[in-house]
Amino acid sequence: MIEKLKEIVRHRELIITLVSRELKARYRGTVLGFFWSLFNPLLLMIVYTVVFGFIVGGARVSGFENDKWMYALFLFNGILPWTWFSSSMLESANVLSVQGALIKKIKFPVEVLPIMVVTTNMVHFILGLPVLLFFFILFGKALTPWMLFLPVSLISQYIFTMGLCFLVSALTVHFKDIKDILSNLLTLWFFATPIIYTYESVPKALKYVLNLNPMTHIIESYHYSFFFGSLPHYKRFAVTILVGLLFFYLGYLLFDKLRDTFVEEV
């Protein structure tokens, strides 16, 4: 495994090049350029703020009884990392077939492709952070030193997402219907993660279920270090990192096992 990781590190220039290709190409020809990567989560935030802050809840969302704008901020805080996660998953389901020419026609380290997907989406996420901070300042929310916890959250999310993306990209080559299941699963997963509601507002019985979801703790770590301005629940978070590493290991193991079948099946 260590050898394989070294191998991946040796491909870093390739990964960097492909990520910048993706970033350049994605918004080339669109008027707003790379700002689209910010508008998508922003739009999602506005929709949920309107729906849950004004229509359904009538500003009675637990924890934000009197402050719709704080609720919007809380939403954006969670949606931004979630978008990184869900876009990575959806794209990695396609990436091997979309980039089929690379696999079939030249000798190419395939594992670079899901890495490219997760990394590209991470860059979009990072580009979204200044906007988040802008809203913090706009709504008079304090910026705390706990925000420096960000790299830890980032790394743990990267590892967990990467593991799942290895799994998804390898399996979709053989089972095309995973793509369809995945988008539904992600919708479900979105609601099973404290993004549009707070972790605290969940009834005790359901908290057990919520705790089993690694994304709960990852998103919570962003909530804590940004929105709540305090140290994340480090015990839960430490377990999450271990679970993430396990997923990464298993995901890569399967990917590596199936690697030779990609040429023929893509």
């Binding site: 090049t17 492909l18 290709r21 040429v263």
Partner: protein, 421 residues
Amino acid sequence: MHAVRVHDVFKFYKKNADSHKFLTIKSALVNKTLFGDIAAGERFEALRGVSFDVKSGQTLGIIGENGSGKSTLLKILAGISKPTAGEVVTSGRISALIELGAGFHPEISGRENIFINGVILGLTRRQIQEKYAEIVRFAELEEFIDNPVKSYSSGMFMRLGFSIAINVNPEILLIDEVLAVGDASFVPKCLDKINEFRRHGKTIIFVSHDLATIERICDDVIWIKKGKIEMRGYPKRVTDAYLEYVGKKDEVKTLAQHGEEEKLSGREKEKRWGSREIEISNVRMFDGNDKEKYIFRADEPLAIQFDVDARAAEDDFVFGIGVYNGDGINCYGSNTLLENYAARRIQGKGRVRLTVPALGLVNGTYFLDVAVHKRDGYPFDYHHFQYTFRVTSSHRDVGIARIPHSWEFSDNIAFSKNENS
């Protein structure tokens, strides 16, 4: 020293990739189809025990029919796919020209794509920077290099891809038929570059259907037939054996068609007309040794022969033949009247034979017309497009007819002539 060693390589594919789609994850895990071996009945054996080695600096050609396993072999050599069994050992950096411009992104400029493609092919950005000017110059794209690749013509696209791949500076170069898509002016340039590689002692493995090029640039040729090496040796010897094999196979096919077409009465009507007062039958072709044959070399003698049957005595009749190429262009036509044979009398059964010392046609499939009619054109029996034959040879000249010729040059013009071209 060997640059490439291939030892007893097998490659099996699943025969029906589609049936796979209905698999569930559960059954895949239970039956181990995802990781296990492919059952004997369900597999297509693309390569069946191929062994050979290539000395460093050698140029090896690989020929074979479509589906014989050439491309599979090349992909295995390139490290793109893994052999089912057996071993491939290579020494030195490999560049495979299997698909040019793989990884090009249409939306971004040629300049950026050079860097991306170069990195994909294993160069560092620095190395690409050093070769950048040469890549652009060789691809002849100086003016367009900042335009997005989607605006390139297919020729420009291919030129850029070739230029990058060749500038990877490999020790082993694998080429799969890519030159077949190049524009006419660029192909010779590619061949020059390949020759330059040979002079620099690089190892080249070249897969192609273009036998003349194979004969010209290869030191050694392997003929692969149904996943096995049928023959290896001196290029001319192998390509000749291959041509003969393909010729024989086609001949069987053409002979079979020959038998069939005479039975097809519906089609016969469209292609055959006339009063039948004189009837033509049993049209056959022979080679110089009087052997029935329908595949000829361009310089080979041949004969066209047919039986005639005149029910009543006639004194006005003309025998004629016509040869058409695959485009329906009349390459040659003549008849006894045009050649001043004045008809006197025909009655009962007889035979007509036309002998050609050398065919003088370029490679291709031809149709033969045979007819007997009156001087004014009134048809007795006209067989139009009824018979086919083929001309195959390693000559690569084009046109309608092969005009006998030779080149002469003054002393200040120098060529190194390859014996086969």
